[in-house]
């Protein structure tokens, strides 16, 4: 191989790598992580600031957890999730998650926008701003479903008396 050819190859490689790394140049190397708003009234009232599972687990695995919730509640009719610490929580995106994380734009969307993902959950599941827009009826106002506990008043505490022996 002649010396001049080698120069051309390396120049071409350099240009290719620079172009392939364009997203990094474009977005910056050390962009700050998105800041999530955890200061909602519901979260402020929590006795212990703990999500369904530990924060690190939720950050990494919430999508898997939600998919498991979806399959268990829809396909198997098992709607109560027993967390690692034993709390029993209604497996529901809109009834459980959104009770605390009331503002989707300041919580869910911050990371999803940053990561460039667009989950289709909200096409069907009703988010709080949709409630404000067009919905005035809530279960509580209609006098039914008022006994459905908002997370984190866990279902276990309510059902302790009524639960018989046997497997969960």
């Amino acid at each position: 191989m002649k010396g001049t050819d080698r120069w051309k190859i390396f120049a071409g490689l350099f240009v290719f790598l620079a172009l392939a790394a364009l997203p990094f140049w474009y977005g910056g190397w050390d962009r700050p992580a998105p800041v999530l708003d955890l200061d909602t009234p519901a979260i402020r009232q929590l006795p212990e600031r703990r999500c369904v599972e530990a924060t690190a687990f939720m950050r990494a695995n919430h999508m898997t957890l939600l998919a498991d919730w979806r399959d268990a509640s829809t396909r198997d009719g098992r709607r109560i999730y027993v967390a690692r610490d034993g709390r029993e929580i209604e497996a529901s995106l809109s009834q459980t998650c959104l009770r605390c994380h009331t503002d989707k734009t300041r919580f869910c969307d911050r990371c999803h926008d940053d990561a460039g993902v667009s989950p289709t959950c909200w096409d069907c599941h009703v988010v709080p701003e949709d409630r404000r827009e067009s919905a005035t009826v809530t279960h509580r106002q209609r006098g039914e479903g008022g006994d459905v506990s908002p997370f984190p008043v866990d279902v276990a505490a309510r059902e302790k008396e009524s639960r018989g022996p046997g497997p969960r």
Partner: protein, 259 residues
Amino acid sequence: MHSSRRDFLKLTGIALIGAAVPDALLPAGLAPAWAGAPGFRPDVRALKAARWGMVIDLAKCRPDCTDCIAACHAAHNVPAFGNPKDEIAWIRRETFGRIFPAQVHRHLEPRRQAGPVIALCNHCANPPCVRVCPTGATFRRPDGIVMMDYHRCIGCRFCIAACPYGARGMNYRDPRPFIRRIDPGFPTRTRGVVEKCNFCVERLAVGKPPACVAACPYGALTFGDLEAPDSAVRRAIAGRTVLRRKPELGTEPQVYYTL
């Protein structure tokens, strides 16, 4: 490190055997983070049955009443597109002549023929919609409810073609603008999915009867376990003349009409 083809094949075999070992058999240290810990259980408030069914007493149903329809469609965010071609109804009011055409004859009183009949998904014991669904989105629960998992619906509409009762409707457009008031207690649907009556699984799961049954002011709708001899539905059909829609098709509808 030099590795021969033989070593590579050995390693592949060992890895395959390892992958076949269920997570539960692994020692705690080796188990993946997800295995073992959390779980699911049904709500203890849930109503249970061997086979859910409904009895509609046509003698009690009034022609001027649509309470069951209003209650159902409000509870499930059913859109009203305002166009018969796109109509979606989980429960609808039809006439006797349209629902039971085989019972119509020349001497049937017109009043009877035009009388109201409430029509909804029959939750067939042998549901053709379940058989044709290519994704398993429509499935039959062990308690007999034919349910839709909207997450899996691809909008192919085979089920609409298969259903002999017209119990299903397709969202050809985004339904949200056509829902009068969105009830946050139940999801809406999205464009491109089929929907139908679910016998109120979400209400049964927390110990409540279906919305239509609870809303009927005349007690024309009865809901219960068809396998339990002393259940409300069995008492409602005992000794009565019972009609079912198109029983000759062999779908075994589980909605019974008493005259």
